[in-house]
Symmetry: C2
Subunit: 586 residues, 2 copies
């Protein structure tokens, strides 16, 4: 059907052309035999789709996730049959909950090989179960016109399914019989010859405007509310809408660090950055809000979640999800966020003026909390993990946009507490779908592949987990500064009830001591490595790194885990207990 190609080649090519109809511009290829027709089909369009070849499928899938997260465009990841495909699972699970458009193209043995003991043959049909948004098990190639056309449309559908709101992972399982390569494979000259694709005009859901007016009317009776902006991407229209809503309601906007609304200029008004010490303070806890309007993902701060517990909550979601683990919601509003927020604002235009003091109280308390934090951090001589994020907030001002990827567990919590904002060029990103510590290095490398640079901050256990991800930086000369916060183990467990266990048992089950000399990564993956244990060295290493290229690993030697716990407790306590002067007025 396609001139000069064998049936299976045309079939694979048509699928890949379909992915590209759907705007796939990057593919991560894991070498394998069974996937050859797909890999070669991508190679035929090398001028239009960038190929990244990586050898550990787990890392490769997270790399694709990083690229897709960065660009909000679908990224394909191709692997061979067998456990190779099973290795994609962690990233697929994260992509589902984190709403990231990746397309897992899993090559498979033909149907007659299934469950007949063939090599590298596992049951790959709906391999990722409920974790894939959409899954298609492709029949073996046929050269019939209808089959070729079918493959093209599946490619386009896969892209569309991954990219439509809420974005997420899809799987296309591709059976191939041998031969997997034709006798005279032609890989040149396909560019521009692809014809006959399908264009997909997507849709977005918007909430019912009449219902939204009723919600607004209800809100207007509640003078003391808060707007909580959880992790997520907030476009310009939405940001403006939030500020307008804040102004009209007289409600503060409590912005999660991962909302990226704390950065300079992101919001016109109403921003409260440093809410965590406030919601921990007795003053604020005594007088909780009447209402919460929440949007984006679940807030990083447990304290904020506990502060809002039991308060009437309007939860806005642009997907199909129900991201409400603490069961706050009294109203669920589904639909495009910018639309919902703007409708609420519009309906409130002529509403009575809200409590005129409420917003001011929050803004002033926030300012004071920030000042206290600045003062405390300035005095802090030890390499406290929280201060790392405060330092980045104050001192990191890249001349062009820079994404900062933050690891799960301690780093993202410290970020949320100690990063009160900063340069508008900074964009903070974390894997907050399933919050795993896995795949973080690869996620960051994917971001760098997409954007040209990245700054990654993660813990030592998380770094160990995905050291393999560093290979991408070596193979593709990716630029990345990686700050490994090394407290020699699983620091977070010291903050949990498990810490009450007898010390020896605690260390055995939760310590995660490893004693790894991370300088070895220089030998394996090249680049620069430095180990710093004080602020002077850290500032120097960071400054030098931000001017550098390639891989630059900075091991930040944090205090022992016990000391880390003490320092956190001390900071929490000091920052949540305002001096008399700064006491919350209300």
């Amino acid at each position: 059907m396609i001139l000069g190609m064998e049936d299976f080649e045309a079939y694979a090519q048509s699928f890949v052309d379909g992915l590209m109809d759907g705007d796939v511009k990057n593919v991560v290829i894991c070498p394998g035999s069974r996937s050859t027709p797909i890999s070669i089909a991508f190679a035929r369009r090398a001028g239009e789709v960038r190929q990244w070849v990586l050898y550990d499928e787990r890392s490769a899938a997270f790399f694709a996730l990083g690229m897709a997260k960065s660009s909000s465009s679908p990224v394909a990841v191709v692997c061979t049959s067998g456990t190779a495909a099973a290795n994609l699972f962690p990233a697929v699970a994260e992509a589902r909950l984190g709403r990231v458009p990746i397309i897992a193209v899993t090559a498979d043995r033909p149907p007659e090989s299934r469950d007949f003991g063939g090599a590298q043959t596992i049951d790959q049909v709906r391999l990722f179960g409920s974790h894939a948004k959409w899954s298609q098990d492709m029949p073996v190639a046929s050269g019939a016109d209808s089959s070729i056309r079918y493959a093209r449309l599946v490619g386009a559908r896969a892209s569309h399914a991954a990219a439509s709101t809420p974005q997420g992972p899809v799987q296309v399982n591709f059976s191939f019989r041998e031969p997997l390569i034709s006798e005279k494979p032609s890989v040149e000259g396909w560019e521009g010859r692809s014809r006959g694709g399908v264009a997909v005009v997507g849709s977005k859901s918007i909430a019912d405007e009449g219902e939204l007016r009723r919600v607004a009317a209800e809100l207007s009776t509640l003078p003391r509310g808060i707007i909580v902006a959880g992790p997520g991407d907030y476009g310009g229209t939405l940001r403006d809408g939030l500020s307008t809503l804040s102004e009209r309601m007289g409600w503060p906007i409590l912005a999660d660090a991962l909302s990226n609304l704390r950065q300079d200029g992101a919001l016109r008004s109403g921003l409260v950055r440093c809410y965590e010490p406030l919601v921990r303070s007795e003053g604020f806890r005594a007088k909780r809000p009447d209402c919460v309007v929440r949007l984006g993902g679940v807030p990083t701060s447990k304290e904020l979640n506990s502060f809002c517990q039991g308060v009437r909550t309007v939860l806005l979601d642009d997907g199909e999800g129900w991201r409400d683990p603490d069961f706050w919601a009294s109203t669920m509003v589904f639909g495009d966020l910018a639309h919902s927020v703007s409708c609420l604002s519009d309906a409130l235009e002529r509403a009575p003026a809200p409590d005129p003091t409420w917003l001011g109280t929050w803004l002033q308390a926030d300012e004071e909390a920030q000042a206290r934090m600045d003062a405390l951090m300035d005095k802090m001589g030890e390499p406290f993990e929280g201060k790392l994020f405060h330092t980045l907030s104050k001192n990191l001002s890249p001349s062009s946009p820079l994404t900062v990827v933050v690891g799960s567990s301690m780093p993202v919590r410290d970020l949320d507490y100690f990063f009160p904002g900063g340069s508008k060029n900074i964009r903070l990103v974390a894997n907050r779908g399933a919050n795993g510590i896995d795949g973080v290095v690869s996620t960051a490398m994917g971001v760098s592949a997409s954007e040209g640079d990245v700054l990654l901050v993660l813990g030592d256990v998380s770094f160990y987990h995905d050291m393999n991800g560093l290979l991408a930086s070596k193979l593709y000369q990716l630029n990345a500064t990686v700050i490994v916060v090394n407290n020699r183990g699983g620091g977070i467990f010291s903050f949990l009830a498990q810490h009450s266990l007898p010390k020896e048992l605690f260390e055995q089950l939760f310590g995660e001591a490893h004693d790894l000399d991370f300088s070895a990564v220089r030998l394996l993956y090249g680049g620069e490595f430095s180990r710093v244990a004080d602020w002077g060295s850290f500032d120097g290493a960071l400054a030098s790194s931000t001017k550098g290229k390639g891989l630059r690993v900075i091991e930040f030697v944090a205090p022992e885990r016990e000391r880390n716990l003490e320092l956190h407790k001390e900071a929490f306590q000091k920052l949540s207990s305002p001096s008399t002067k700064g006491e919350v007025r209300r």
Copy 2:
């Protein structure tokens, strides 16, 4: 119900006690918060169950698989909720097809957290789909007598399900609400206090004896058959039965390297070790057998599979599987292998004498092929990958039993071709369920944990894939010699049709060049490291290693991939073309 314990503690303890009723003696624990009740329940019985704490769940699961493979006893692996659990998937898939008893205990958030946006909460119900033999989603703990008893029985059932023939992986998904630890956790003094378990008397399937007699009668009319012993565990009774069958039928036993029947003394008679050059030879290909009796897994040798194509085949399987990817089977016999083989032999006792020359032809040709191989290998000066296994065959004679784990892809194929047998103390093992290159280091470390030592031979890409697995050797002072056959990339692709691609494209998609300096592993994981590029150095390093303790990595610098291909082709050609003197007589 259990004195002094909270409900959730008693529930978890009862489950763990149930696992131990089912003979679980080892558990691999991945640190995590949600799994705390399970981890602590294991800690309470620390004197009776060995705990291994590892931090990368993917590696941890393969480590459990290695232990379970080594001991044929179920090994549990415990992890926290979220992507942590998804990381177990590759090992679970391998365990299913490789028939290895592992018990994945995945901690989960409580049911009310599912699909409500909770942190580290993914859909874990039947997480591994068809890949787990059995899966149970446990309700949240209750202190009712019946619940405690239920948990106990689930533990016992999980062990039984994993260990019963065919062995395989099971999942128990364990929801816990907070608190995850009681205020005064008691972890001492549980040993010996566990009461009231269930004993499971297992069964094995045996084939119908009347049917077996009919099969034997049919076989006795076919004088020129072969017995193919694929990968698997062959106990003493089965080994004797095979020799008896061979003697009565006058058929040779073609033993896969992974059958471990090639080693000295494993079979009383009938053994053909070096069949691969024979089945490639024109002499043998011209006169194929009348019949094949095959048992164990699918043979490693593609050439043998092709040699048997279209021949009447009796396939014996002790599980429920249908391991017949080339569709040879004309008779499937399910049931215990020793029983089936012995019934066939018994029925043949008074059968007419078989073709008296057939067996002799094979045995002599095998002897000649071995002599040719010895001569060719002796002359081979280059560090040829195939010769590595020949060298191990000739020179490795450990004074006590030693398991040799062999990586997928090239190593296992080279092993099958170039390892004609050797010391009876050697046991060869590979992950031949799904044949992945992933998890191989961890599998070997699990074997070492079980047996006290291991020798691992694997390729460089496979080594890269699971370098994290080396952490186990460091944390637990495991003894292991790791031979990394480094041909700087994916050597196997040079043997496939993909090799016909333009060189640059081939290298990009299939080369897997990485340029990793593996000496870095010494810095990370300790132990010894040596790099050898000639036989003298290799012999020295191996000799020194076999006397050593701890981790000993030997990087075997193999010829470039192109040269590797040439050397293989040359060996295949020379060994399959007997001199006039050694020509096959028939």
